[in-house]
């Protein structure tokens, strides 16, 4: 699992200049993704999880600025010129955006959408591209690929569109696939199948970063999970450890507040009070302090740095949770 590092982010920050002043969407995130690894980035809206990866590919909005470092296979991406970025985009690092319903261009046939990226860049001939497209469609589990190539996006269901979006990302054989909320807009049975697909791709050696707000989705898929809150990385742990013994109160709260079929029915879901700070809202101290059951004075005054815990874990909390030991 710890092969070569594909993507390494060091102290990555994203700032947007707005008429109301600078908005810090992401502040000082450090993480790495190795070859063949699956990392889950979990956070709610406003946590900065999407902006983080848009910054890596130079896809931030015009008023956005990234700071720090983002290296893909050693190549620095921040501040790189278009030519360098284009060599990485799609080829090394593929990004699938949120919302499969709108990710495909409505007036182009599926074949065109699949082959556009490789043909425009002259990566292969038209015949080879078509062959690859068929292969990609088969890989993502779409039946009758020849017929599908001729269809338009609106003729496909949501689940199929998501698969096609994944196929488009696979056309260039990337080493790392970043999937932003790949299952959010889909039915639960379709979700399960997309997760199966991602699992199969990972078994084939593809490294995956899955960005989601739904912890349940990543349980079977991810090797590691990082949790983001208000633009900061608050916890990082191997998936199993995170679910059984979360160290950050936010993670624990999130896990507790999700109703699960395996739970006994309760009167009240243990919900986290309050709401996350708006993007760019300046907070003193720990951004989660207003909502934290365990907040102390230090928490409100001093922002907790990211500290290492045993077992390859990191947490940004002044007083991380310890599992109650029953002995």
């Amino acid at each position: 699992m710890t092969g070569s590092t594909l993507l390494e982010l060091r102290d990555l920050g994203v700032e947007f200049t707005t008429p109301q002043g600078p908005v810090h969407a992401v502040a000082g995130v450090t993480l790495r993704v190795g070859a063949g690894e699956c990392l889950a980035v979990v956070g709610e809206s406003g946590s900065g999880k999407t902006q983080l990866f848009l910054a890596c590919l130079g896809l931030l909005a015009a008023n956005g600025r990234a700071s720090g470092s983002a290296r893909f296979q050693g190549q620095e991406l921040l501040g790189a010129d278009e030519a360098t970025l284009n060599r990485v985009r799609g080829v090394g690092l593929s990004l699938i955006s949120q919302d499969p319903m709108n990710a495909l261009t409505p007036h182009l046939r599926i074949e065109r959408q699949l082959t556009e990226g490789v043909l425009d860049r002259g990566l292969m001939s038209a015949a080879v591209a078509r062959h690859r497209a068929l292969e990609a469609l088969r890989t993502v589990g779409i039946s009758e690929p020849e017929a599908r190539l001729r269809q338009y996006p609106h003729e496909l269901s949501g689940g199929m569109r998501q698969r096609v979006a994944i196929a488009v990302a696979l056309m260039t054989s990337p080493q790392l696939l970043v999937a932003d909320e790949p299952t959010t807009a889909l039915d639960v049975t379709v979700q399960a199948r997309i997760l199966d697909l991602l699992r199969a791709l990972r078994a084939d050696g593809l490294a995956i970063v899955i960005i989601t707000h739904d912890l349940g989705v990543v349980a079977d898929l991810a090797d590691r999970v990082v949790v983001m809150y208000a633009g900061r990385l608050v916890e990082s742990a191997p998936a199993g450890a995170l679910f059984t013994a979360p160290a950050h109160p936010y993670t624990a709260g999130l896990l507790a507040s999700m109703p699960r079929l395996s739970d006994a029915p309760r009167r009240r879901l243990p919900a986290i009070d309050g709401q996350p700070p708006r993007p760019g809202e300046v907070v003193e101290g720990c951004p989660f302090a207003p909502r934290c059951d365990f907040a102390a004075e230090t928490c409100r005054e001093v922002a907790p740095p990211l500290r290492s815990l045993s077992g390859e874990r990191e947490v940004a909390c002044h007083a991380p949770l310890q599992r109650e030991s029953r002995r």
Partner: protein, 291 residues
């Protein structure tokens, strides 16, 4: 556990105004338009001449601009002072444009919002009426009106407004059709509100953005249309004048007295340009989703 407000509020209109202020082109356009309106109102007071005073004292008719005899912008072929006439013309043009636009707005929005919201056969019939009116030869209609009611400024408003509302109705209907399926409209229906309340309270305010923008784009069209009517002799009558008339007259004397064309054209051009910039700025400012 209560959630307190975390951001400063402000009305939707204050928000829009603030956004408009940030758009420099729109603000400049607004200032220039304001200056023109002021000039058109008070400008003539500074000049000793009136719009129909024929100045025989000059050597020749149609004298170029010169400070000497206080004809700052010269005189036209009949010896009338251009400065005063330009501002008089601006007043008339703006007045006609604003009133006619207001009329077409009122009719068009009501018609389009109702048709779009109700949908179905009612929508079909209402829009067929619009289609038929579109097909009528407009000039024919105006000429008949003129013959029946005689020429008057009021008539021009009616004539232009009566046609201008058609496009507005189409645009508003399209917007209303889209709005009808939005959840907040369904929520309003679920509250048992009667259709006319829903149209007035929910549909119209939400199409206002588009309507205002389109109105600022209609005003130039109306001014041009009025000048066309004047050119045909159906518009404002002498000694009243409009920018359109001045341009038309100036075009005839283009070679011998170019200022007669340049001055009113410049004023007209500036007004049209400003309205376009303002329209653009308003569209951006009025969209509540843009923060």
């Amino acid at each position: 556990m209560t959630e307190a407000a975390t951001t400063p509020g402000g009305g939707l209109w204050t928000d829009s105004w603030r956004r408009l202020r940030r758009n420099r082109a729109a603000v400049a356009a607004l200032c220039i338009l304001g200056a023109l309106v002021v000039a058109a109102t008070v400008g003539p007071w500074f000049s000793p001449y009136t719009i129909d005073h024929v100045d025989w004292s000059l050597g020749a008719l149609a004298t170029p601009p010169a400070a000497a005899h206080s004809h700052w912008l010269g005189t036209d072929g009949n010896g009338r002072d251009l400065f005063v006439r330009v501002w008089a013309g601006t007043r008339v043009s703006l007045l006609v444009a604003l009133l006619a636009t207001a009329v077409s707005l009122a009719i068009g929005v009501a018609w389009g919002a109702t048709a779009g919201y109700i949908g179905g056969r009612v929508d079909g019939w209402m829009m067929r009426v619009v289609d038929v009116l579109y097909a009528l030869p407009y000039m024919f209609f105006v000429i008949i009106l003129t013959v029946v009611f005689g020429r008057s400024l009021f008539l021009i408003f009616v004539a232009i407004g009566a046609v201008g509302w058609l496009t507005m109705a189409r645009i508003v209907r399209g917007q209303a059709l889209a709005l009808r399926h939005r959840e907040f409209v369904e929520a309003a229906i679920a509250l048992g509100l009667p259709s006319r309340r829903i149209i007035a309270r929910h549909i119209v305010p939400n199409v206002l953005g588009t309507v205002i923008v389109y109105a600022t784009l209609t005003v130039p069209q109306v001014i041009l249309f009025e000048s066309f009517l004047s050119f045909l002799g159906l518009g404002v009558q002498e000694p009243l004048t409009s920018l359109g008339r001045l341009v038309a007259e100036g075009a005839l004397e283009m070679e011998s007295a170019p200022w007669l064309l340049l001055v009113p054209s410049a004023v007209l051009g500036v007004i049209l340009l400003c309205l376009n910039f303002l329209g653009d700025g308003l569209r951006d400012a009025l969209d509540p989703r843009q923060r």
